[in-house]
Assembly symmetry: C2
Homo-oligomer: 538 residues x 2
Amino acid sequence: MSTSLFFTSVVNHVINMGNFTRCSGWARNRSGQFRGWPNFMRTMATGGKDVGDCNCLERTEKCFVTIENMNPCLKRMEYAVRGPLVIRASEIEKELQEGVKKPFSEVIKANIGDCHAMGQKPLTFIRQVLALVSYPALLDDPRFPTDAKARAKDILAGCRGGSVGSYTDSPGIEIIRRHVAQYIERRDGIGSNWENIILSAGASDAIKSVMKLLVNEVDGKKSGVMVPIPQYPLYSATLAEFNMHQIGYYLDESRAWGMDIAELQRSLDEAKKHCIPRAIVVINPGNPTGQVLSRENIEEIIKFAYKEELFIFADEVYQDNVYDPKSKFHSFKRVLIEMGEPYHKMELASFMSCSKGYMGECGLRGGYSEVINLEPDVRTMLFKSISAMLCPTVLGQSVMDVVVNPPVPGEPSYEEFTKEKKAVLNSLAERAKMVAETFNSIEGVSCNEVQGAMYAFPKLDLPKKAIEKAESLGQCADVFYAFQLLENTGICIVPGSGFGQKAGTFHFRTTILPQPDKLKIMLNKFKEFHLKFLTQYK
Amino acid sequence: MSTSLFFTSVVNHVINMGNFTRCSGWARNRSGQFRGWPNFMRTMATGGKDVGDCNCLERTEKCFVTIENMNPCLKRMEYAVRGPLVIRASEIEKELQEGVKKPFSEVIKANIGDCHAMGQKPLTFIRQVLALVSYPALLDDPRFPTDAKARAKDILAGCRGGSVGSYTDSPGIEIIRRHVAQYIERRDGIGSNWENIILSAGASDAIKSVMKLLVNEVDGKKSGVMVPIPQYPLYSATLAEFNMHQIGYYLDESRAWGMDIAELQRSLDEAKKHCIPRAIVVINPGNPTGQVLSRENIEEIIKFAYKEELFIFADEVYQDNVYDPKSKFHSFKRVLIEMGEPYHKMELASFMSCSKGYMGECGLRGGYSEVINLEPDVRTMLFKSISAMLCPTVLGQSVMDVVVNPPVPGEPSYEEFTKEKKAVLNSLAERAKMVAETFNSIEGVSCNEVQGAMYAFPKLDLPKKAIEKAESLGQCADVFYAFQLLENTGICIVPGSGFGQKAGTFHFRTTILPQPDKLKIMLNKFKEFHLKFLTQYK
C-alpha cells in the first residue's frame, strides 16, 4: 500500500470511529466506551493483512473471548508512547526497507526515551560487570578490571548457588538493597533502611506494585489518584487497568510547568464528588514537561498531601538528568524528612530506574522503589503481593547495583566511568538547550526550558483551518499534525493529547535523545515541515 | 529468640488468628476475610523487631493507607511457595549463621523449583551468549565459540542501536519470536506464526497478561477460571489479585493425578451458580503433582473446554522434564490442531519458561506464550495491554532465544551443550525415581510416580493425635507437620494446603532438585523425622 493510500485509509478509519470526546483520548467515545480502536490498530499493525493463523472474523461464533465480554478496563487503557503513531512509524520503517519511495530516508523515533536506540553507548563498566556475573569464567580474565570483578563477586555471593540464574528474594538481593540504601543516604544525607528498598524490573513495575495497594471501592466510590496533566501515560494506563479514578491536575505552563497548589485543590475538590482520593503522583524532573521542581514547591506539595491524607508517589527516575544550572534535584524523601513533624512520618514511595539518567539501560529492566512509613500490616501485604512474581530479573538488579555503587576515586575504572558518564550528561544538557531554543525560534511554536529529564513538550499554535481539517477527519488537531509530520518527514513524536493538555491547546512530546548531528537534522526538518504546514492551512 | 521460643510465639499467634476454615488456606477466616496474617508474617519476617524506620503502630492516625482501607484482593491473595514456612526457613538460616545451635547444620530448601540454588550448573553456551550480548567487545575474543558469537550477533542485530539496553517491541524481538515459532514447529510438526508469540519475563508474567483479558463481572457474576487442585499457587494468587472466581477441580490421586472429566463437569456445574466460567488451566507436566497427561486425556479436556466454551491455558513450562519412559509430552497446541474441526480453531494460550527444563535459569526471567485463535480485536487489546510495561528484559529474551535455537550438529558447541543438557535431565530422572521410591518405602507416606516436572506431592497418613494437636494450635495438620519438620531437620517443604487437597487428606510438595548426595541425606533425615513423629503421636 502506498503511503498516501495508507494514510487515507487510516483517516477513513478514524472518521468511522464515531463520536469521540475531542482530545481527551485517542479512541474513546463520549460514554467512555471503547469504539473502533482495534480495527484501527490492527489495520495499522499489519497493513491490512489478516493476523496470525487466526481468522476469527469469519467464525465469531467460535471465539469464546470477544471484545464485548473481555476485561473492560483493558479496553479503556491507552499508552500513547506506543500508540497508533508509533505503530505507523514502524510500518514506515518496513516500507523503507522494502524500497517504498518516501520524502525521507529514515524514521527518527523521538517518541520514546530509548537512549541506546538513539545511539547512546552503554557505559563500559556496567557491561563489564554484567558479562562477569553472566559468565563467571571471565573472572580469571586479566582484561577485566579488578573493580568490575569485585562488584561481580559481591553480586554472585548474594545469589543462591552463586548463580544469577537462581531466584532472589522477591524484593531483590540483600546486598544490592543495602547498596541502594547507602546510595540514597549519600544523596540525601539522611538515613535509609535497606529493608524499605524493593528492587524491580524497571520503575514501571515498582510503580504498579505500590499503586495496586490503593485499589478499592467504598460505597460505590473508587480510589482516586492525582496525576499531573500532562503526565507520563504509564499512570493513566495503570489507573485504567486497575479501575481507579484519575484525578488530573494541570501543571502551569506559564510558570515553567510548575505545580500550583490552588490547582491541586481545585482538581481534588472536584474529584471528591466522584471518588475517594488516596494518592498524588509527582514526576520530578518532569515527563513530558522537563521541569525540575523547586524545594519550595515540593514543600507545598507535601503539606497539601498531608492535609488531604494522600500517599505520595515520587517518580524520580530522571534524578540524574538536571541540565539547568539554576535547577537542582531535591528528593521528596529528603524534603519530607527535613520538614520534621508531622510530615516526616508520611507515607512516600520514591522510584528510580536504570533506564534513564546517564545509563539509559532501558532493555535491562532494572529499578527500585524506596517505600517509607508504611503501616506495618500494609507493608507486609506489599511484600506478600510481589512474592507471587518470584523476583525481578537478577541482571536488571545487577545493573542497578552498579548504578548505586559506581567506581570511586582510586579504583581502576573510576576515570573511564566518570568520563563516559559526564560525556552523556553534558551532551544531553547541550541538546536540551538546542531543542528548546530551536522550537522557540519557530513561528507558532513555544517551548519551556528543558530543565531536566529527556523531553521537550512544546506548544503548537495551530491555524484554525488545520484544526477544522482535523475535526473534519474526526481527529485531535495534534494527532493530525503528528501524523502529517511523520508521513512527510519520518519524524515520530507523540501528540500532546496522549499526555493530556488544557482544552484548546496543542502540544507534542519529543525526546532530546537523537545524537547531536541527527538532532540538528531533525529540528531543521521539523522547522521546514512546520512552516509549510502553517502556509498550507493559513 | 531461641527456636523453641520463636515457634511457641508463632503457634500462639496462630491460635490468636481466630476461626479459620481448616486447610482451605492458611490465614483466612470463615467469611473469607483477612485476619491476623500480617502480624504473623511480620513477626516471622523480623523475628519480632520493628520493621524499617516505620513505627506506625504508635501513630495509626497518621497512616493514610491502612489494612482496613487497602486493596482487599491483595489481602486475600496467598502464595504458599514463598509463605510463612519459607520466611521461617530464611530466619533459621540467619540463626545458623549467627551460631544458634540447631539439631542440623543447614537448611535444605526443597520448597521452590530453584535449580541453580540447589547446585545445578548453568549451561555454558547460554552464559556465553549472555556475556557476548552484554559486552559485545567480547565478540573479538577467540575463546568464545563461533556459534555463540553468531547467536549473539543475531540478537544484537535485532536490538535497536545494536544494544540490549534499548527497549524492544513489547512482545519481544522479532528474530527471537521467529525462532520460538520455528522451535514450536519442530516440536509439533505443525505451523506456528511468530506473530502469535509474546516473549515475557518468565511464564508467570505471560500467564498474568493473558488471564487479565478475562477479568469481568456481568450481572454481579465474576469471571471464573478452572484450576486443578492441587495447583501451582500462582493461579490462586492471580485469581485473588484480579478478583476472579477460582473453580477448583480435583486431580485424581488414585489415577496418577490424572484428570477426570466427570470431576471437571462437577466442579464447573457447581461453580456456574456463583460465576461465569471463562477458562480452564491445565498444568502439564504437573506442578505440584508431577503427572504427565496422556494424549487421550488431553483430547477429552479439549472437548470439554469446547463444549463449555472455555479458553484453554496450557501451562507447559515443564515440557522438557519428562522422566517416565512410558510418558510423553503432548502439547495442547498440537493435539488441538490435530483434532481438526471444530477444535482446531479454539482459543489457546501455551506458556514456556527458561526457568525450568534443563536450563533452570529462574533468575533471568525469560519466557513466552503462544496465543492462538484469538478474536482479532481481543488480540489487539492483548498487545496494547502489554505495551505500557514497555518490554520484557532483553537478556531474558536472549536466554529464551538460546533455548529455542540451541547448537545443532556440526556447530562447535553442539557436543558440550548436548552433554550438559543430558547430564541435567538424566540426573533429574534418577532423582525423580529415588524420591518416589523412598517415600513409598516409609510407613504412612505414599507417593505417585514422578513422571515429569520437578516435584513430588506425597500423601501423609497422619496419626489422629497429631491432627488433634494441630487443631488445638489452630493449624492445618500439614502445616503443623511442615513446621515441625523444618525446626527439627532444616528441611523446608511446602504443606499441601498451600496447593489445595481433598478435605481430610494431607500432602506436601518437595522438589527433586537437591543434588543426588544431598537428596539422599534429605530423604534419610525425612524418614527419621517422620518415624519419630509417628511414634510421638501414636
